[in-house]
């Protein structure tokens, strides 16, 4: 291990102090607001060399020969820009580029820009979405990141009332969710109905469904990077939105040598209930609300240093008095994240990013009924992270980094008797190194490895990663990826896996357990052979070992290892995604054919079973039609094989200590399927002005044809015969709202 790191540091040394070749570098930003633009393609056509901007919008093209060259900068949705550089004097060239937004124009150059960027990445199973793409999808109440992702192949919802994500057969806690580089542990509002991310505060999201690079780890299934808006560096302005569910306000503008951004939202169901005095009496309704706020401040210190401060605060709060105040229920849960990020250019070819972050999640439930019952789970995560990009040569982009985290995880339950609690303080450190190697115009690879250590298990784990891409022609390519991943923290679903996330309990594995482990193989094909369309077909196989499943038992154990059943899983499938991003009619078709299996020796007689969220077919259609500059129509249709449920196979009575119980004998786990799930949502949006302010209004209908989708089968064992009823999901729901800018 020491030798490997020595190699990288020697490489670093040689880059820093060896005779420099000419390097073209700079930042690519949006001309309108100064926002950095990741994934832009910078290309010198004569030399057939180029680079893509990183997440901070930085690029570097080393080893440019002396001469005069035309550089083309392109990004989907932006006007392609060309400029000439002259390197005959042998000096490095720094050029910051501002691109102009042209998102609604059909433009040959724009298509080309995307094509060239796509031909460079080796990443499989990647979904990048802009906030505006998410906002255009019809939904219920709020545009939502997770609900938009659930439209993508390979990404399934725990249930319609949950925004939890099951990615390629993984459970919802197997996703590493990062907000500007900081882990968010329970990113849900309203019992999981919405994600915690306010779409107005988001710049883009980047989901990697598998085969993800060595710079990420700690989760088995996927990585979701959510990047907040930096703030407008040119003009000060704001936006407000009012919907049936909430009010959202954002403001942004220049600040010193940088920018600021502030966004907040709050729901008002509690206010309506309180004003209508529905929170008291026999049929009292709960007082419930959530709010969240995002703050980001960016400052540049010269050409080479940028600092940013990112804060997020979100809270859900429920108060409910029942039975003429005989019982009160109070539930509060939320996340707080703070991060200080320093971007430093050691040289043109050496880009670094350092982050100190604090993430805090706490869920607190209190029942008061003469005596109190309370449950508190909290996670505190103090992390330091450093990443260094080496633009070694035109063929190699290397990256090394370290990520150290100190956790404090608590769980307390009080009622009658002694309180039950545990407190764990695991520390975890990971190192990684990876290299992108453009072998020639056809072959591009990325190889990396990640070393992880957690001090409770005291084991060093090595996770190699490998991606390779073969360009079949200028339009099409094949990709392959594989990797080994580990997970040390797990969220225990304390409910019945129907997705009520506030009851999930985060626990670390300890010295008696093994870290959960997975490896995957992904084979993909993508093409843009049909002009204006991109088509991706990917197949995957994933094996998971030492998976944990919460024992559904009343237990008082303080040993974390005794809380779980340990088993394994495998998942495989094929995903097809067709996307049309330009023109008046845009949209996508996603189809997933997949199998997910689990095997636990202590469950189902040790026989392999399909977990509840296994779905054989999953189809999503999304379309946006821009009627004219004022009106836009959108529709989303989803169809999926029904989820699994466990059928009763017998009925019996038991009598003990004077008590008779009617029981239903459960059959093999999840051996039956609910009826297929399908739903159509539509929306219409009109651009307009409100009292001279530019804005829009929208009207949306959720579940247009009011299909009675089934959430789960409920077995009432006390009835004779056993009563089996379908618990239904949401009916048709119309919503409307307005947005305006100031």
């Amino acid at each position: 291990m020491i030798k490997i790191f020595s190699f990288f540091f020697l490489t670093l040394h040689s880059i820093l102090f060896s005779a420099p070749a000419i390097t073209l570098s700079g930042f690519v930003t949006d001309k309108a607001n100064g926002e950095s633009l990741p994934f832009a393609n910078v290309y010198i056509k004569e030399l057939k060399i180029g680079a893509a901007t990183n997440i901070d919008g930085y690029f570097a093209i080393p080893n440019v020969p002396e001469g005069e060259f035309v550089v083309q900068v392109s990004l989907l949705g932006y006007r392609t820009q060309s400029f000439t550089i002259n390197t005959v004097n042998g000096k490095n060239v720094v050029r910051n580029i501002q691109l102009t937004d042209q998102s609604v124009q059909v433009n040959e150059v724009i298509i080309s820009g995307e094509k060239e960027e796509e031909l460079r990445t080796t990443q499989t199973g990647r979904i990048v979405m802009q906030a505006k793409d998410i906002a255009q999808l019809p939904t219920i109440g709020e545009a939502d990141v997770f609900r938009a992702l659930q439209m993508m192949p390979g990404v399934k919802a725990v249930s319609e009332v949950s925004s939890g994500l099951n990615v390629r057969g993984g459970s919802s806690d197997q996703n590493l969710i990062l907000l500007d580089g900081t882990v968010v542990y329970n990113p849900y509002h309203l019992f999981g109905f919405f994600s915690t991310f306010n779409n107005d505060a988001i710049k883009d999201i980047d989901l990697m469904k598998g085969g993800y690079p060595a710079e990420y780890g700690g989760r088995l299934s996927s990585v979701l990077n959510v990047t907040n808006i930096d703030g407008d560096r040119v003009n000060t302005h704001g936006k407000a939105s009012i919907s049936l569910l909430s009010t959202r306000v954002t403001g942004e503008g220049p600040l010193g040598n940088g920018s600021w951004f502030l966004s907040g939202r709050r729901t008002y169901f509690d206010q309506i209930v309180s004003i209508a005095k529905l929170d008291t009496g026999k049929d009292a309704l709960p007082l419930y609300y959530f709010y969240d706020a995002n703050l980001k401040i960016n400052q540049d210190f010269g050409q080479n240093d940028k600092l940013s401060l990112v804060s997020y605060f979100g809270q859900d709060d429920l108060r409910w008095s029942l039975g003429n105040n005989d019982i009160s229920i109070r539930m509060r849960w939320g996340n707080r994240t703070n991060a200080l990020n320093w971007t430093h250019l050691f040289s043109q070819t050496l880009f670094s990013n350092f982050t100190a972050s604090y993430s805090y999640y706490k869920a607190n439930t209190v029942f008061d009924f003469g005596q109190s019952f309370s449950q508190v789970n909290s996670v505190e995560d103090y992390s330091l992270k450093g990443d260094i990009d080496f633009f070694v040569t035109n063929d190699h982009l290397s990256k090394i980094g370290v990520w150290w985290s100190q956790y404090k995880i608590t769980y307390t339950q009080t009622g009658d008797g002694e309180p039950y609690l545990f407190l764990e303080r695991p520390a975890q450190i990971a190192f990684y190194a990876q290299d992108n190697w453009t072998i020639d115009e056809r072959w591009i690879t990325q190889f990396g490895f990640r070393v992880e250590y957690q001090d409770l298990t005291k084991k060093i784990l090595l996770g190699p990663r490998f991606n390779i891409r073969y360009n079949l022609d200028e339009y099409s390519s094949l990709k392959f990826a594989t990797g080994l991943y580990y997970q040390f923290l797990n969220a225990v679903p304390a409910g019945n896996e129907s997705g009520f996330s506030p009851f999930d309990i985060w626990v670390p594995i300890d010295e008696r357990m093994n870290a959960s482990e997975s490896y995957d193989f992904v084979l993909g094909y993508d093409t843009k052979v049909f002009e204006g369309y991109s088509i991706t077909v990917e197949s995957y196989y994933k094996k998971m070992i030492d998976l944990l499943q919460f024992k559904r038992e009343f237990t008082d154990t303080k040993e974390v290892s005794e809380l779980f059943n340990v088993g394994s899983g495998r998942a495989y499938g094929v995903e097809v995604f067709v996307q049309k991003k330009i023109g008046d009619l845009t949209g996508s078709i996603g189809y997933t054919l997949s199998w997910t299996h689990r095997t636990f020796p202590s469950l189902n007689n040790g026989i392999e079973f399909y977990p509840k969220y296994d779905r054989r077919h999953d189809i999503s259609l999304a379309g946006n039609y821009q009627l004219n500059e004022h009106w836009r129509l959108s529709a989303v249709y989803s169809y999926a094989t029904g989820q699994g449920y466990t059928m009763g196979v017998g009925r019996y009575d038991v009598n003990f200590i004077g008590n008779q119980e009617e029981k239903t004998l459960a059959g093999p786990l999840y051996n039956r399927r609910l009826a297929p799930y399908h739903r159509l949502d539509v929306s219409i949006t009109k651009q307009t002005t409100f009292f001279g302010l530019k804005g829009s209004w929208y009207f949306q209908i959720y579940n247009v044809y009011n299909h009675k989708n089934v959430w789960f089968k409920q077995f009432d064992e006390s009835k004779n015969p056993t009563e089996v009823t379908d618990v239904k999901l949401l009916p048709i729901i119309p919503t409307f709202g307005i947005d305006f800018q100031f």
């Binding site: 002694e418 009343f554 237990t555 054989r616 466990t646 019996y652 239903t664 077995f715």
Partner: protein, 275 residues
């Protein structure tokens, strides 16, 4: 290219039609139901078949009436061949009421069905114990107040217990269970209800405070504290799925149900409602 994509789409749709198989719903199993009580004769062992879940379940119709049921001591001399109760189909009772279940001893159950199928189980009986403290004494009264603790029971420790199981049962004909989530109307118009019990006490916790979350009574109340053996404990601690079915673990060979044992201590209190 178009042909390739069309063929790919067709192929995966064909493959995808392979759904999980759905086995027959009804699973015919023998259900054993028997709890031995320390220092008491064997009460009964009930034997039935499971019924279909969509049909009315009358235990008498599913009774197993011609099995051989024997309980023997493990490591000590004890044997009791149970006989079928003539009035209650499926119930097997002791032939000798002088034989008492000895605390801390292990007993084996052997059932032989007419077709030769054998069912076995084993239990170690928890030791006897007693209630050592109660805020209220027998036949004391307290006014029902939803905002204050009513009574605390405390008991001595018992060997070989898996968990303690406090239960409440109304002794008055006109008194009833008052689930806490019900309102005053329910209190004023109570409906007779079953015994309430408190599952999930920590293994070594030897006290409980009334009222409990879901079970409260008024009137004369018998509070039984059971020390349950590991079999019975294992059966009790398994949670259902909030309406969804979860598989249950059974500690029997060849059957479902419970063969376990308990030791018992009890006391009574009386609770009146506030006006």
């Amino acid at each position: 290219m178009k042909l390739f994509l069309t063929l790919s789409a067709f192929t995966i749709l064909i493959i995808g039609c392979n759904e999980p198989s759905s086995p027959s719903d009804y699973q015919k199993e023998v259900v054993v139901d028997g709890i031995l009580v320390a220092e008491n004769p064997i009460d009964s062992i009930d034997l039935h078949w499971t019924g279909e879940i969509d049909k009315f379940y009358d235990p008498a119709s599913y009774a197993i009436t011609n099995a051989t049921v024997i309980i023997t001591g493990v490591g000590f001399s004890f044997e009791d061949s149970l006989v079928h109760h003539s009035g209650i189909p499926g119930r097997y009772v002791t032939s000798d009421t002088t034989k008492k279940i000895v605390p801390t001893r292990t007993y084996a159950l052997t059932i032989t069905l007419p077709d030769g199928k054998m069912i076995t189980g084993m239990t170690t009986v928890p030791d006897t114990f007693s209630i050592i403290a109660s805020t209220l004494k027998n036949n004391d009264t307290v006014k029902y107040d939803t905002k204050a603790p009513l009574n605390t029971f405390e008991w001595s420790d018992s060997k070989f217990q898996g968990t303690y199981l406090p239960t409440l049962a109304s002794l008055d004909d006109n008194a009833a269970l008052i689930p806490k989530f019900f309102d005053r109307d329910t209190i004023n118009n109570p409906k007779p209800s079953k015994i309430g019990y408190r599952i999930g006490l920590p293994k070594n916790q030897t006290n409980t405070i009334l009222p409990w979350l879901f079970f409260n009574y008024y009137g004369s109340i018998l509070c039984d504290i059971y020390a349950a053996d590991d079999n019975f404990t294992d059966y009790l601690i398994q949670q259902n799925g909030g309406g969804e079915l979860n598989q249950t673990r059974y500690r029997l060979n060849g059957a479902i149900g419970v063969f376990g044992s308990v030791a018992r201590a009890h006391g009574t209190i009386k609770i009146y409602l506030t006006p």
